[in-house]
């Protein structure tokens, strides 16, 4: 039997009603090992205005580079209390902020992938969610990352968070314009 996937639709302006119960601003509960980091930023529309009805979801590996998922069969430790999922709505200014641990490197096609978080972006006005990634600054592995290398060099910076004081990084979702964030099609 062969079927076609159901059509995607926008979350609309009232997404919080159905989705806020699972808001997770601290992805790594106390006791989960790893380098703690806070990531903050804004979701900005084509006029540079903050999007107040957006939400991002994060999926990541643990500090050893293993995903809490049965298809990750690497012989690396799992942590019982670490799922690796975060859901963060934007506030009135389009800003978001969450805390997690830096993931370890994970295997990739051709080369190991540099530490990264995968991100889904949802909002009113977006008919299908967008997929992007957050990479870490000062990370030598970024140069060899198989996905970063597919991105035109001038746009790679949109995927790499910037240091913003101790333990804090800044990363924005810019929908249009000169600094438009790179989105992936898998």
């Amino acid at each position: 039997m062969s079927l076609y996937a159901t059509g995607n639709q926008t979350v609309g302006p009232y997404l919080h009603i159905g989705l806020n119960w699972l808001v997770t601003r601290n992805i790594a509960p106390r006791g989960v090992p790893g380098e703690r980091v806070t990531i903050q930023g804004r979701v900005l529309d084509g006029d540079g205005v903050g999007v107040n009805d957006a939400m991002i979801e994060i999926w990541q590996a643990n500090a050893h580079g293993r995903y809490a998922h049965p298809e990750d069969t690497q012989k690396k430790p799992l942590h019982r209390r670490f799922r690796g999922f975060g859901r963060i709505p934007t506030d009135a200014r389009g800003a978001f902020r969450f805390t997690t641990i830096k993931p370890g490197p994970v295997p990739g096609p051709g080369a190991t992938q540099a530490p990264h978080l995968v991100v889904s972006v949802f909002m009113r006005g977006l008919l299908k969610h967008l997929a992007t990634r957050i990479y870490f600054p000062d990370e030598p592995a970024n140069r060899r990352d198989p996905l970063l290398r597919l991105v035109p060099e001038a746009r790679r910076g949109t995927l790499i968070a910037r240091p913003k004081g101790k333990g804090t990084l800044e990363w924005n979702v810019i929908l249009q314009g000169k600094d438009e964030t790179v989105f992936f099609d898998f």
Binding site: G18, V49, G108, P109, V118, R124, F183, D185
Partner: protein, 236 residues
């Protein structure tokens, strides 16, 4: 690491474009640069999994979240979550949200002049069973106006959020009701180019799940991206 099997790409015409002028909000919110086509890696072939630690067994019944009974027509919405190969997607999280019977959301951004219902919050969730089945008890949502164009009204709909078993199977969709005259005018519905794909967003009346003297049944099956036949390589 054993070889991983990737997911099929979406069939042409079955998914909306990001830039769809009839839905005005897409204008400033669609990417203008082409998306970067990327290989599916371990990061996208895995994804968050949820269980009964996350969801209460009663979370599927939107009519029993308050002291009183919500106003409106009680309905049963049920169906199966399948992949494109026709296999059930078991134990996966399904989240829904919707307007009340008068077409109003309990949300500060909703200023439509229709009554709120103190007995209806409009949100529910559940997990599919081993055969991919899910079931919600709710009330039929009302239509409501929005300011997209002159005299714009959203057809009655229920928002659905699904995860499947990978980052790549994440999906948000909307379920509509059969025979709704507003569908023709609705850019959310018409943004799907393929006529058959559009029709699949409409639930069907279901005699089997209709409960005598109690509630009408509507059936809505959801199909998530399915595995490709060809395995892909994921070297260390």
């Amino acid at each position: 690491m054993k070889t991983l099997r990737g997911y099929r790409r979406y069939h042409p015409g079955t998914q909306p474009d990001y830039d769809y002028p009839p839905y005005r909000s897409t204008e400033k919110r669609h990417p203008t640069q082409p998306l970067v086509i990327a290989p599916q890696t371990l990061s996208e072939l895995t994804g968050p999994l949820f269980g009964w630690d996350d969801v209460k067994p009663t979370d599927h019944d939107l009519t029993r979240q308050h002291k009183g009974t919500p106003i409106g027509e009680r309905i049963i919405v049920s169906g199966r979550v399948l992949d494109e190969n026709g296999r059930p997607v078991p134990n996966t999280l399904v989240e829904i949200w919707q307007a009340n019977a008068a077409g109003r959301y309990p949300h500060q951004a909703d200023q439509h002049d229709a009554p709120l219902d103190p007995n209806f919050s409009g949100a529910g969730r559940t997990l599919t069973d081993a055969e991919g089945r899910y079931r919600f008890v709710t009330i039929r949502p009302g239509e409501y106006p929005w300011r997209n164009h002159y005299n714009a009204w959203r057809p009655a709909h229920i928002h659905f959020s699904l995860f499947g078993q990978a980052f790549l199977t994440r999906m948000i969709t909307q379920m509509y009701f059969p025979g709704d005259p507003l569908l023709t005018y609705d850019p959310m519905f018409t943004c799907i180019a393929d006529e058959n794909a559009r029709q699949r967003l409409i639930s069907t009346f279901d005699w089997e799940t209709t409960i005598p003297e109690h509630a009408l049944g509507y059936r809505f099956d959801i199909v998530l991206r399915g595995r490709d036949a060809t395995p892909m390589e994921n070297r260390k």
